[in-house]
């Protein structure tokens, strides 16, 4: 292994190393603070390693991983969100369970899995990364043994993730049987554009279905709301942010390197998935009374929007999708921070009714929450709007460039956004409900711990900054993504 390879791989090594270190720490002390501290230190070190690795170009590390700037960008993003989620986990676990060591080990392993996914160049790495995330996450979802909903969520996630992996692997095996390789680049040269033999088609279709499960695209979204609702708030946060972002990074890379976008059949499949997700996510979210379920459906819809940028392809599509995720992640992180901070011992504060009157009782929290929700809805001056704007820009651009199918996608984006807005507004309106003094929901009277306040402030500011002055971030992202298209 050369020095360059080591530098490039260091973030992943550090993440995995943190997990091992945590195992060793458990032998010395069971202190929650120490465990969380080691996790934070490991994540911070990984973040530093990312910045150290950025200057060098794409570095292949074995046949499995290609660590280029895109991969590092996503790894950095995951580590950043991971730091926030670690703080949340610390707050959440404190006082709820005494067994905290395993949680952080699984958490870091999942994060390492995300980094592997973001840099994988081979189906084996894809599979490995996916399983590192999934196995850790269903253990995490069921982590609280006193919480039946969590266990049920873990069970459902187990089945869901298992099916996704199996489907994906079956597809990869078919492609292997046909082309004799599992490396993305080699597959890219081997698969002729428009190849129509049954093995190739079945293989690709199954891979797509597997990815669809992981991204909870409709119609693969069925159990996602249950998993979101049942899992502890920080774990739901992880599922909603890190695992989605990592899989989406992989999807972008896979399709760019294998040139799958040129397949008309695949285009049709993804376009259908996108439209179905947008409508399913937004329509099913309408009647939910549970915040986590709303977020689950909102994420189904948001993945649909992302697919539009992804389908448009080219540098603009990749930049748009990456920016969209960059703005989407802090918004979700902020929401889950609030959810965690205001949750009681017995029950997470995940009913919309838990927030009735928030605006009168805690105006600052309500303002932050509103900003975050409006970002998810894509209202101007939030990062979500710039993301959606960019997605629409690539969509309209592709439509004008001669693929009229994009008009349908852009139309779905417009209609879907309006439907979705309804359920975000419902939550915002709940903040303004007037409740007689003394009858407020318990959630809104709870104190927000300092750590949560910091995470919330930072993520809200990030959302606003990305919405008001997105220039620098856009430039940075385009510099990092451009590498692929040179």
């Amino acid at each position: 292994m050369t020095h360059a390879q080591l530098t490039a791989l260091l973030p992943v090594i550090l993440l995995a190393g943190t997990a091992v270190a945590l195992l060793l720490v458990q032998a010395i002390t069971r202190s929650h603070r120490v465990t969380a501290g080691v996790t934070l230190a490991g994540l911070a070190a990984a973040l530093v390693a990312v910045t150290r690795a950025l200057p060098q170009g794409a570095t292949p590390v074995t046949a499995l991983l290609t660590i280029d700037r895109f991969a590092l960008l996503y790894t950095g993003l995951l580590a950043l969100i991971g730091i926030g989620l670690t703080l949340l986990s610390f707050l959440y676990l404190a006082g709820r369970t005494r067994l905290t060591g395993a949680y952080y080990i699984l958490f870091t392993l999942a994060l390492a899995g995300g980094a592997v996914l973001a840099s994988s160049a081979h189906f084996a790495a894809f599979f490995l990364g996916l399983e590192m995330i999934s196995v850790s996450l269903f253990a995490l979802a069921a982590y609280r043994r006193d919480d039946p909903a969590g266990i049920e969520a873990g069970m459902k996630y187990l089945v869901l993730a298992g099916v996704a992996t199996a489907v994906l692997l079956f597809g990869a095996a078919l492609l292997y049987a046909r082309y004799g390789t599992m490396a993305f680049a080699a597959l890219g040269t081997a698969i002729a554009p428009g190849a129509g033999d049954p093995l190739t088609l079945a293989g690709i279709a199954l891979v797509v279905a597997g990815i669809g499960f992981k991204l909870t695209l409709a119609p693969f979204h069925l159990w996602a709301p249950d998993v979101y609702e049942g899992a502890p708030a920080p774990v739901t946060g992880f599922i909603a942010t890190i695992s989605k972002a990592a899989v989406f990074a992989l999807l972008l890379r896979l399709f760019t390197q294998v040139h799958l976008r040129e397949h008309p059949a695949l285009f049709a499949i993804f376009a259908t998935l996108a439209i179905a997700s947008i409508f399913a996510g937004n329509l099913l979210g309408l009647r939910q009374m549970n915040l986590k379920r709303v977020l689950a459906y909102s994420s189904v819809a948001n993945m649909g929007y992302l697919l539009i940028a992804f389908l448009a392809g080219g540098p603009a599509g990749a930049i748009a999708a990456t920016f969209y995720l960059t703005a989407y992640l802090p918004a979700l992180l902020g929401i889950f921070t609030l959810l965690t901070a205001l949750s009681g011992r017995e029950r997470d504060a995940d009913a919309i009714a838990d927030y009735a009157g928030l605006a009168w009782r805690r105006p600052v929290l309500a303002a932050a929450f509103t900003v975050l929700l409006l970002s998810l809805a894509g209202i101007p001056l939030t990062g979500g709007f710039i993301g959606k704007f960019y997605v629409a820009l690539t969509g309209v651009s592709a439509a004008l460039a001669g693929s009229p199918a994009f008009w349908a996608l852009v139309g779905a984006l417009v209609v879907g956004s309006v439907i979705g807005l309804y359920y975000y507004l419902r939550i915002v309106l709940a903040f303004f409900q007037r409740t007689p003094a003394g009858e407020e929901p318990a959630a809104i009277t709870r104190r927000v711990p300092d750590a949560a306040a910091i995470v919330l402030t930072l993520s809200t500011l990030a959302v606003l900054w990305l919405g008001v002055l997105p220039g620098n971030t856009l430039t940075l992202i385009s510099l990092l993504v451009e590498e692929w298209f040179r």
């Binding site: 253990a139 298992g162 049987a177 599992m182």
Partner: protein
């Protein structure tokens, strides 16, 4: 000897059988077995691809070993969850465990 078509058909049948078990069986352990069956169908594909098309390459062997290992890990965690499920609900029947709508 089997032909490649035969092998792929068998793996396809295994895969569908696994999926069917997942959908129809209400028992959590059976569902887990369904997942395992699907993974092994994929393994069979790898082996078939190696045997008939790419006998000089070793990727398939590595892939199969990898899958077996990871599937074991998955089964281990899965069984642990099912154990907890049983402790909490007194049953592993997925139909009866429905705290949440969906």
């Amino acid at each position: 000897m089997f032909s490649i078509t035969g092998l792929l058909t068998i793996s396809g049948i295994l895969f569908v059988a696994g999926a069917a078990a997942l959908i129809t069986r209400r028992n959590a352990v059976a569902a887990l077995m369904g997942v395992e069956l699907m993974l092994n169908a994929a393994n069979l594909n790898f082996v078939a691809g190696w045997r008939y098309f790419w006998p000089e390459r070793l990727d398939a062997h590595v892939a199969v070993l990898l899958v077996i290992t990871v599937a074991a890990a998955e089964a281990a965690v899965g069984l642990a969850i099912i154990l907890n499920l049983y402790r909490k609900f007194g049953t592993v029947d997925l139909e009866q465990i429905r705290l949440m709508r969906g």
